[in-house]
Symmetry: C2
Subunit: 314 residues, 2 copies
């Protein structure tokens, strides 16, 4: 393929526009920013696959895409039409920020912050029984991918222990216990809180349903930062309305967007955030970190992080 | 003094009533629960100094009190009237739970949870600019006592760095930087958020005042879990009203209790919790942990934790 420029440093193009954060990331990775037609690699920051160049120069050996999931890029045929290129996604780059959001909702719930925010008078004794702690609490993390694993040290820092649920049941680092997905139903009866961070598949639809909610206790919080379909919304609304669980923190809903007038908007024990756990303002610096890391690996000839498998489609 | 019972295990009385959690703690500490007149030590769970026995058996060598601050016990003359006894407080036992509360308010604020809770419609783009992150944020912890030090690993777990402020300026473990209290004013201009966890003294009154708030930026949160007097309430209300800072999380207020109708009750960027960061439900198991530790030390003849100095008055 193309030979590097005389300095010997690989050259990396940035598109669709030149972004100072990404220029800095390329420089930190010890590559040379370059125009597309003189580059060895392309770091892409656009979210719309239709805007991606139909043709790439033959010199391009690697393309970095800005999203963690790349279904849309496959659907648009972008990845398949450049078989000579190594593609990487941003998978993993945003795990910590989504985990932080899940943690914020869980901790706010356990500390009764929603109810505090609604209060307009100092009724200390009323709150004494409502304020809880994550210290000593057992928290199930359903789906121990990047987000789930990023959440574990946060929970550990406040003294909670983690029951991880993953497909294989292979022990997850930092979890007190790991349970295989086919035994997930057993978990609800013996944890204090549940965080859902698993992919949406046929098997995970309504993974948190009526029976699972019934197994939780009246102080339990359920947090969902995965996909709305993993939780049975109607069953959740009933449990929240009857105070059969402590509350729910939802960054994703079913339906999504949550329509105006939906009961989840007015239930005092529900925190709804409109799928904004990883907003652009936070995503940009996180993506730049990921780019700097991958550029550095590219320059050194090491394996890249989050390589896309064109056969598997992710 | 009294000789231990034939088994050789020191005997510990519990008062004013026998509490199962404390009995268990005495047993875990490997001492023998005993009635007061046959005991070597007394673990006290009552909060009112007036209820404390006027006379103690001569066999009692150690008394454990249930509060972290013991001003009231000195004021009532309880400690001074038993000069033959070693007294310990519960100082330190509740640091982690108060730190967790401060952390919950800060994280909820940075993630814009108060505003999310007020929303009744899915307006994702509006929130994109409002959701922040503690990752990479600099947080000042003013007062690096037990609570401040317990907060450091929590902040580290979400990727924040800490600027600690203490009297001496001697480096605090886990802080990126430690600043002596006489230079605290310099800190406000170069941190993202401030947590107040210092004792209330003449020197710390209005430590966060108009000038300090003006040095913060429009996304900064101020959290106070110490005493209300450390923050100038009027200046804070103005800053919150004009959105000159991001918000405030207050477990303590000035005046306290916060009167009905006070602007802090209705400001959307203020979280007020009625001095309930360490509620009895959470305090009891934490005190039991502290008791188990001190009983174990007593049994082994080791130094006890949180010894009270009758000369110093704390």
């Amino acid at each position: 393929m193309s030979s590097p420029e005389p300095s010997g440093r690989p050259r990396v193009a940035i598109g669709p526009t030149t972004d100072p954060l990404l220029c800095d990331a390329v420089a930190r990775g010890e590559a040379e920013p370059a125009p597309l037609d003189a580059a060895d690699a392309l770091v892409w920051a656009g979210n719309d696959p239709a805007e991606f160049p139909a043709e790439l120069p033959a010199s391009i050996r690697w393309v970095q895409l800005p999203s963690a999931g790349v279904e849309e890029w496959f659907a648009a045929g972008v990845i398949q039409s450049h078989p000579q290129v190594l593609w990487t996604s941003a998978a993993g780059a945003f795990s910590a920020t989504v985990a932080e959001h899940a943690f914020a909702m869980l901790l706010a719930g356990v500390r009764a912050l929603p109810e505090h925010l609604a209060a307009t008078t100092w009724r200390q004794r009323d709150f004494f029984d409502k304020v809880g702690t994550l210290r000593g609490a057992r928290v199930a993390i359903i789906g121990a991918g990047g987000i789930g694993r990023a959440l574990i040290p946060m929970l550990a820092a406040v003294g909670a222990t983690v029951v991880a649920v993953n497909r294989s049941g292979r022990p997850v680092h930092g979890a007190a216990e790991t349970v295989p997905a086919d035994r997930v139903d057993d978990v609800f009866g013996r944890v204090d809180h549940v965080v859902v961070a698993a992919p949406a598949t046929g098997a995970t639809r309504h993974l948190v349903g009526r029976d699972q909610l019934a197994a939780l206790h009246t102080r339990s919080w359920v947090v969902n930062v995965a996909r709305g379909s993993l939780v049975d919304t109607d069953a959740l609304v009933e449990a929240l309305r009857d105070n059969r669980i402590g509350g729910a923190g939802l960054d994703v809903t079913d339906p999504e967007p949550l329509p105006d007038g939906h009961p989840l908007w007015s239930l005092p024990n529900a925190i709804v955030t409109p799928h904004d756990s990883n907003p652009p303002s936070v995503r940009k610096p996180a993506y730049a970190e990921h780019v700097a890391d991958n550029v550095r690996r590219f320059v050194r000839g090491e394996d890249l992080v989050a390589e896309i498998d064109p056969e598997a489609g992710y």
